[in-house]
């Protein structure tokens, strides 16, 4: 009986550890865009989005994404010039879509400039947040 309990606990620990590792491993940050339309009757939140091909995304993404990640308080590492984030963050495609649109549209930058100007902060130095 004891052996069965230990085996069960061992399996549970292995499964939880695998899950923890899987969720927290670092994967490359890729730009996410909205799919043109969705037609299935049952839609999961990630079904609204897709990883963008390089020709589907503005060059501003590559220019601004590091600043957006810094300014959004997001944890990341850089390897060979590429940004890596935790899988659990990358798997929240809507959040990454938010980061992608922030990096490609001026409205988010305008918003942050407005906030920094109200607070008397220097917009360019606000990266000290990290």
């Amino acid at each position: 009986m004891k052996r069965k309990i230990y085996a069960g606990l061992g399996t549970l620990i292995i499964l939880l550890s695998t899950y923890y590792y899987w969720q927290n491993r670092y994967v490359e940050l890729r730009p996410v865009i909205r799919k043109e339309y969705t037609s299935p009757l049952i839609v999961f939140q990630n079904d609204f989005y897709k990883i963008a091909d390089s020709n589907e995304i503005s060059l501003n993404y590559y220019k601004n994404i590091k600043y957006v990640m810094d300014r959004s308080g997001e944890d990341y590492i850089i390897k060979n010039g590429k940004i890596y984030i935790k899988y659990k963050i990358m798997n929240d495609m809507e959040l990454i879509w938010n980061y992608t649109t922030r990096s490609t549209r001026p409205d988010w930058f305008k918003l942050k400039r407005e906030m920094d100007s109200i607070n008397g902060d220097d917009y360019k130095k606000v990266i000290y947040y990290k």
């Binding site: 037609s39 918003l111 906030m115 947040y129």
Partner: protein, 247 residues
């Protein structure tokens, strides 16, 4: 004015009774087939005449929607058929009566509650200091097939923008401010898409594109804005997370 270029036996107005003319698809929900005569004539018509027949079907959809008291869905279809292309402002009270909209609004509020940027923002606040925090989040969603929202728009988005004033008083943070929710969508069609329309079956978007091409229907933008006020006190936990609850 309508003038037929078809043989007299294919002339829509003369060959079909009004009920046949508007019963191209039948009612697949109740397994009622469309009118066979109407279908056979439909397949022999040119695109312009097909578009006119399809337009009649869309008008029938508007009637059916009004019978079910789905007036927002009916109004939008009519707005598209009228072809003004003007932006349509949707009543936010009606939108907020739809469970999908409220769920979406809550998703964005939760995004603010768990916003990592907000965590680092409050971390830098000194005792007694007040600063403004401004941010926005987008959330996209579809209406459920049994509700009116499914028929009145496609995949729509709520862009929520917060403007909070946050004051630090020792270990407490006092927040007051607003979140402005901006709901938006474009009432348009996509060539390879289709949708199930109750009472009309699976209707291809290509039908609607034909009506746009020949009958003057036009896509349009829809939007609606509402504001919520918030007052909350929260603390920063040792893990760095905030126990902020806005709902």
């Amino acid at each position: 004015m309508y003038t037929s270029r078809l043989k007299p036996e294919l002339d829509l107005k003369k060959s079909l009774t009004p009920s046949e003319y508007t019963n191209l698809f039948g009612d697949p929900f109740w397994t009622l087939p469309g009118n066979a005569k109407a279908k056979s004539i439909y397949w022999q018509m040119d695109d312009k005449q097909k578009a006119e027949m399809l337009k009649a079907n869309y008008i029938k959809m508007i009637e059916k929607a009004r019978q079910r008291n789905w007036n927002h869905a009916a109004d939008n279809l009519q707005w598209w058929l009228d072809g003004s292309g003007f932006t349509k402002i949707i009543d936010f009270k009606w939108l907020r009566s739809q469970r999908e909209v409220l769920a979406c609004e809550n998703v964005n509020i939760e995004r603010f509650e768990n916003d990592k940027d907000l965590r680092v923002f409050v971390k830098k606040l000194n005792d007694g200091q007040t600063d403004n925090y401004i941010a926005h989040f987008d959330h996209s969603f579809d209406g459920g097939i049994f509700g009116e929202l499914y028929y009145m728009c496609g995949t729509s988005t709520i862009t929520s923008k917060c403007n909070f004033k946050i004051t630090r008083k020792k270990n407490d943070y006092i927040l007051s401010g607003i979140i402005v929710h901006n709901w938006w969508d474009i009432y348009d069609w996509h060539k390879s898409a289709h949708a199930f329309i109750y009472g009309f079956g699976i209707v291809g978007d290509s039908d609607a594109l034909l009506v746009e091409k020949y009958c003057g229907a036009k896509p349009f933008k829809m939007r609606s804005t509402w504001k919520q006020n918030f007052n909350a006190t929260f603390q920063r936990e040792s893990s760095g997370e905030l126990n902020l609850k806005l709902k």
